[in-house]
């Protein structure tokens, strides 16, 4: 394993400490619950917005804590939902008269931890609501799973509810907005290489030199199928077709287009995918109103990318345009 890591067991806390040291004025770190929170929260005039999920997806979610985004994140270990205790304590610490919105990516472990944590916090008088994100089209709806997974599209849900809550929206309004954004957001990912969890020390799966995992999950879960490595344009087309046909997005739609890097892929390659997706959408009569090309939701050091579309209307577009701040910044 070639990584910048000390003891794998301290990987997450050390990362969190680093984030806190780099943002002393804006963020607070509570080691007992892996908690990164805005230093100026809770605020009694604002709903608190919290997300948990496993670690290893950075910048999601600990690095998008900030004004106009999350008010707190309490991640679990790498790829493991946080223990319910973290959720419970975080909800209590972020308690606001306007309530606490708990964003949950749709995985069994995350849902259980947040359901249990919410029950406990409610017993202590904290008003909580859960909003589930499930944008991954790789998982065909099925009786068997908890349904589609929550992946990079959660950025848009966070951005929209974060912006609305800054403008004073109440908990019900945030639930409405969050569900609305989630409902028009779809993502599909592809892996070129496997990721290496620090505690495991070796790649999570094996991919041949000319193989890709189409529809991979952000925890390295196998996807729809193994395919042969093809040219970037073909991969962009395949991702786009899977996403466009799912909602579906139609000619005349205006969308946000995100190309998200999975951790090991340089931004130059993301723009190669972006170019093709943008051109192909245009050819289908779908207009890109806003573009996102960066890492948003990674899978450790996995080389790969995901493509997300959000169907825009005036309300969503205005919320996505609203100012926001976070620890992942350039300047």
């Amino acid at each position: 394993m070639k990584k910048f890591v000390n003891d794998p067991k301290s990987f997450v806390p050390e990362m969190l400490e680093g984030i806190a040291l780099a943002n002393p004025e804006t963020l607070k770190y509570v080691p007992a619950y892996n908690l990164i929170m805005r230093a100026d929260m809770p605020n009694e005039n604002k709903v608190s917005i919290v997300q948990g999920s496993g670690s290893g997806h950075e910048p999601a979610h600990v690095m998008v804590v900030g004004k106009g985004m999350l008010d707190a994140a309490c991640p679990g270990d790498v790829f493991a939902a946080p223990p319910m205790d973290y959720v419970y304590e975080t909800a209590k610490l972020l308690n606001s008269p306007k309530g606490v919105l708990l964003l949950v990516n749709n995985y069994t472990g995350d849902r259980m931890a947040f359901d249990m944590g919410k029950e406990m916090a409610e017993a202590d008088g904290v008003r909580c609501e859960i909003l589930t994100v499930n944008d991954d089209v790789a998982v065909q709806d099925s009786l068997y799973t908890v349904g589609r997974r929550g992946v990079a599209g959660n950025f848009f849900v966070i951005k929209a509810v974060g912006a609305a809550s800054e403008q004073g929206a109440d908990l019900d309004e945030l639930l409405r907005i969050g569900r609305k954004v989630n409902d028009v957001t779809r993502t599909m990912g592809v892996a070129l290489t496997a990721c290496t969890p620090p505690a495991k020390g070796s790649p999570l799966f094996e991919l041949g030199a000319d193989e890709i995992e189409f529809g991979v999950g952000i925890h390295g879960e196998p996807g729809r199928e193994r395919r042969r490595l093809v040219a970037a344009d073909q991969i962009a087309d395949d991702l786009l077709d899977a996403v466009v046909s799912d909602l579906p997005y139609n000619s005349g739609d205006r969308v946000a287009l995100m190309i998200n890097g999975l951790g090991g892929t340089p931004i130059s390659e993301l723009y190669i995918l972006y170019r093709r997706a943008h051109q192909r959408l245009a050819a289908q009569g779908i207009t890109v109103g806003r573009s996102y090309v960066n890492e948003y939701c990674t899978s450790l050091d996995m080389a790969g990318a995901s493509l997300t579309l959000v169907r825009l209307d005036d309300e969503i577009e205005t919320l996505l345009h609203a100012p926001a701040e976070s620890a992942i910044r350039v300047f």
Partner: protein, 205 residues
């Protein structure tokens, strides 16, 4: 089963989970995300950290406290699932100071029901239930921990032919066939370890 014996069983589970971190993690990485061994090991380490302070009033209380530590400290799917199992087993034990095999079976049934409710899962979904239920059935039928452990092992091996319908592996559908379920295999390994320590500590409850 006395409180000392309950303690020993839980301790054995904890030591075995910690000792098998890599093996369990590797099993979970075939069609899962590879963290099952890590989650279990870290959680049981936390249990051992506060081991001496656990309430030992009776077996039921001890198991409930164990379950609460696990549920609140282990992340991933396993925290809620395993925590619920221990808490429910403790609840079924009530305040009894000695537990008969019948009572142990009832506790295991309570744990199974708890897992089913928490995980919205059932036998046949390719989860730890597919080893835990055969283990319980065999214990009820034979009153023999060794036979029960063998049943768990056989059932865990058999999960290899199943398609996952719950948990992260379920996302892969047909591709989950061909490898055993990590949780089921963990149950088998734990059952075997418990059966090994059992006779040396006196065969009856």
């Amino acid at each position: 089963m006395s409180i000392e014996k309950t303690e020993l069983v839980v301790r054995t589970i904890a030591d075995t989970a910690i000792g098998n971190e890599k093996y369990f993690g590797d099993l979970d990485s075939v069609v899962g995300d590879g963290d099952f061994g890590y989650s279990l090991a870290r959680g049981f380490e936390k249990l051992l950290e506060g081991w001496d302070d656990l309430d030992r009033t009776d077996s039921g209380t001890f198991l409930k406290r164990t379950g609460m530590v696990i549920a609140s400290r282990i992340g991933g799917t396993s925290g809620p699932i395993w925590g619920t199992a221990f808490m429910r087993a403790g609840g079924a034990a009530g305040g009894a100071s000695e537990l008969s095999t019948e009572q142990v079976v009832a506790m295991l049934r309570a744990a199974v029901d708890g897992i089913k409710a928490r995980g919205q899962s059932d036998v046949g979904d390719k989860t730890l239930l597919d080893a835990l239920v055969p283990f319980t059935d065999s214990l009820e039928a034979t009153s023999d921990i060794h036979a029960a452990a063998a049943a768990a092992r056989k059932a865990a091996d058999a999960t290899s032919d199943m398609v996952a319908k719950r948990g992260r592996a379920a996302y892969t559908g047909e591709r989950s066939r061909g490898s055993v379920d990590a949780g089921a295999m963990a149950v088998a390994v734990l059952a075997e370890r418990i059966s090994e320590i059992w006779p040396t500590q006196g065969a009856s409850s």
